[in-house]
Symmetry: C2
Amino acid sequence: MKSYQVIFQPGDQAMEVQEGSTIMEAMDQAGINFDFPCGGQGKCGKCRVRVPAGAGDPTATEKEILEPMELDRGIRLACAARVHGHMTVELPERLQHNILMASGERTCRIEPHLKKIFVQVAEPSLEAQRSDWHRLKDSLAGQGYNSARLEIPVALLRRLPETIRRAGHGVTVVMYGSKIEGLEEHDTTPAMLGMAFDIGTTTIVGYLLDLYSGRELCAVSTLNPQTRFGADVISRITFANREEGGLEKLHAAVLGAINKLIGEALEKAGAGKEQIYGVSVAANTCMHHLFLGINPGNIAVAPYVAAVSEPVVAGAAELGIDINPAGKIFVLPNIAGFVGADTTAVLLAAETDRSTGIKLVIDIGTNGEIALGSGERMVACSAAAGPAFEGAQISSGMRGAAGAIDHVQFEDNLAYTVIGGGRPLGICGSALLDTVAGLLELGMINKRGKLLPPGQLTAEAARFKDCIVEHEGQPAFVLAGADKTGHGRPVTVTQGDIRELQLAKGAIAAGIRVLMQTLGVELDDIQEVLLAGAFGNYLNPHSACAIGLIPSELEGKITMIGNAAGTGAKLALLSSSEFRRAAQVAESVEFVELGSYPGFNSIFAANTYFNPKTQQKGKKVAVKQ
Amino acid sequence: MKSYQVIFQPGDQAMEVQEGSTIMEAMDQAGINFDFPCGGQGKCGKCRVRVPAGAGDPTATEKEILEPMELDRGIRLACAARVHGHMTVELPERLQHNILMASGERTCRIEPHLKKIFVQVAEPSLEAQRSDWHRLKDSLAGQGYNSARLEIPVALLRRLPETIRRAGHGVTVVMYGSKIEGLEEHDTTPAMLGMAFDIGTTTIVGYLLDLYSGRELCAVSTLNPQTRFGADVISRITFANREEGGLEKLHAAVLGAINKLIGEALEKAGAGKEQIYGVSVAANTCMHHLFLGINPGNIAVAPYVAAVSEPVVAGAAELGIDINPAGKIFVLPNIAGFVGADTTAVLLAAETDRSTGIKLVIDIGTNGEIALGSGERMVACSAAAGPAFEGAQISSGMRGAAGAIDHVQFEDNLAYTVIGGGRPLGICGSALLDTVAGLLELGMINKRGKLLPPGQLTAEAARFKDCIVEHEGQPAFVLAGADKTGHGRPVTVTQGDIRELQLAKGAIAAGIRVLMQTLGVELDDIQEVLLAGAFGNYLNPHSACAIGLIPSELEGKITMIGNAAGTGAKLALLSSSEFRRAAQVAESVEFVELGSYPGFNSIFAANTYFNPKTQQKGKKVAVKQ
């Protein structure tokens, strides 16, 4: 039999469809959730779509239901119009939603995973003594469901007789595919919320969304309470495996935080937990496993494999998530042991799978996840940057919290900003980058990373020579002295801090080089650099390029895309096809294990050096806020 | 595309199959569980089947794997041979099993619901860092599973990493369709048991079966502990709805009994509960609902609808059944509120759905379930016989337990047998039938059921005139007097008892007449009468016909089929296609509601009379044991 291409707009989803199929059947094939209130019988006229190309002649049903003007405009009924050639179908507005990203908007088609359907169940009679379940199936069949495939758990069968009768036979059925997940009295279809989570090692962020409109109702966040069992992924894996009940403690901690955030979000929005029917989760592979209660131990030892990378769908009760018991949890897929579902979510948000040009996507943290490629081929790696970017193992280092110097400017004088204002208590990663970048551009640090003593400074740098002090026999740069009363420690960048930063930036830079080699591309071939994650969106991109964290040739191509992992989680929550797309994204990315990449050690070593060009240019570093 | 008919032997299962399909694909379509150890790649030669008709030329693969002699005998490989015309396929012996019934054997093809598959999971490497779940899916794909459709619950993902590694990567996967239900270390495929239950209102019977060989290992039984909350269905429904926590008490009681019987059976067989992977349940609609924890309340009030009639499949933990947690519970489908899954099981065992002749199937109890028809059309009803057949509301009545007179013979003298021997304590249903039948044949009871006083007896009956005493102003028949010491009550059949029996037999007989009218058949059209259930297999069929419980014209056509509900439960446990067939059986039976059948009251009244022919014939009643 002949087949034709049907393209659904917006989104350019293309399907091969057999000749003579209805648009409804093509939608079904494409996994598009669309309402057919009369069950696709051509009676209600509610499945109007516009067919800008390939509409063909209207059927008798369409001529009866639609106005001549509508027919002229290409309006057709999805249940009646048949495919007799290549066709473009425009889905109605209400199915579309634009999600705000730092870099602009990302359009997605709203396709809730769970559907709520209000049905009027027939009353039984002596003439038709069909069981309650039989009559409910009949009602759903009237809505286009195949009653032979419908499934219901025993727990709902137990509630079925009373629910139907108490509701005067009008009930709302919560469906997941052909499975009945919930039964509610009367028509509750308008109420359907969901939460999208990005579970980071340090921070958990959650977004409360309306699953019908896509509207974000509020955002909430908290420190990941697992932090008290270990600051980073490796220390938590160790805790999970060395401590009695360690895994259970970590699992309980993240579950508790998720449930608390759900409660907070609901309070903000004035809604109840029974209104939440879906939760999506993006997380790095270790956080992913701990959220699911799976021991992440094998991620930490060669060959670093995850227990599961594929998307996980589970019931709310199965996972202990405190939402409507009919609700489902949608966990995005991991790519590898150290390139997790958070990276998948970033790539989904950035739509790298549909990009024709090559993009470099970087999420910098203790592990920097780097992906490079286009819709054709995408490679990714995880670079062990260590904690320098988070201010750890830096003499005056601290997290990007109140009191941290976060940005530094070398103008005529030294200028800096402090988070929350007031006296600086320390320095966070972004300011460390700014400082070292500035010192490099002033020639105060050489290619090897050595901070020069006051006597060796150039004339241009001489104005900062008083900032150089001696620290453990080596020069150090003082950003802020102890205050006049002698209270408070001075905030200093030491030679040791510069070495730490060299290791960190070297790891990321080496990862980028390895991916470029793997893909066989040069810097010129890279069309865009996308910086994701909290740190990536806080740093000064110029400083990042100046120190060689990102090749300086790419500076003009950098776009900050905010918490793209959160955006990806939102997409996966609002749209079942975006969730399925995430699986394709994760599956298609080729993971490159840096540890076993030939010559990685020398590539890494070479990238710990600074780029002499930076010093030659001697550009001014401007804070770009 | 052309399609052909493929018939699988034994069982005559016919499928329409597209031209060019392999036999493997046809089996898949027919739902036949068949092992393809090499995944259907034509390598192992283990999927040999005989094709007595329509084999066609062997393929290259078959010529390579099979001996010329085998090819000549019609042996083919199911994975390689293709359908190019109508075909008959003989499945190997090991898939067949004969189940013993009281009436002979019933052949069924063994097709376990759950499958155990031993796989060797690949070890991960730096070059192939696929997740544990990914590698397990790959192993299953090697066994012919479509890895994209495989599902695993989070609880098993949690155990996956450790199970794989502790077992040296050799694990047994318990599959239900494409769902993974269990994971076991090493090769545990040989161990797979199941239990089939017939949950009666009074008695629960369980059978422990080997799910591979079909062999019955032992049978166990117990009184239904719900009896203490009410002797019959209606009193239990009342208890469930009137008492605080009544439903929960009834549910807990039957669950407790089931779990206790499982324990007993396992002890007898020397097996462990982790070896049980399946439990099937046949029960009347009320027992069915109480087993599932569903309120049966609506069964008792018009229009008498069940909450669920369809087959129910649930997890062991979901229902609280103490077997391997991977195990599943298969509950047979009900037909109507008062024609339950036990009747479905009886019809399945009796294969009425494939009968060309018309059969009358009767399961006599407090409610008599009656079915009449053939593979073409089957009608059924429930006749409210009341408790007379169980000895209740009969002056000297008792259950068929030790001390009960169970059979009576009117020879030269009165002769009877007592269960367990010794002095009679009372009379059970079968003896009540014998007594009344004998008295009728001696002319001691008239058409209207009146027991004649000694003075009105015929010459032939005169020898029993001393047995007639006066009881509450009416004649009564003494079967056994008080003993000589004056201890013990005499065992008597009173006029009141005869009236009770008339109501009971009238209800069943009226039900049979209504079904005959509905189907439009006469007594001559009925080919066979099948008596199922404990009482039906204990009574003397001649007595049943003499009193008109069963039309006397059918006496020569009666076959006792034993606990056919138990047999049906066994079939549904051993074979997934028999379980599916049960759904078709239940679905196809047309339920006739006697209460709303036009003129039912007069039909019932007419059938409470005795048949004058019985008296005219004056046959001797022989005990047929």
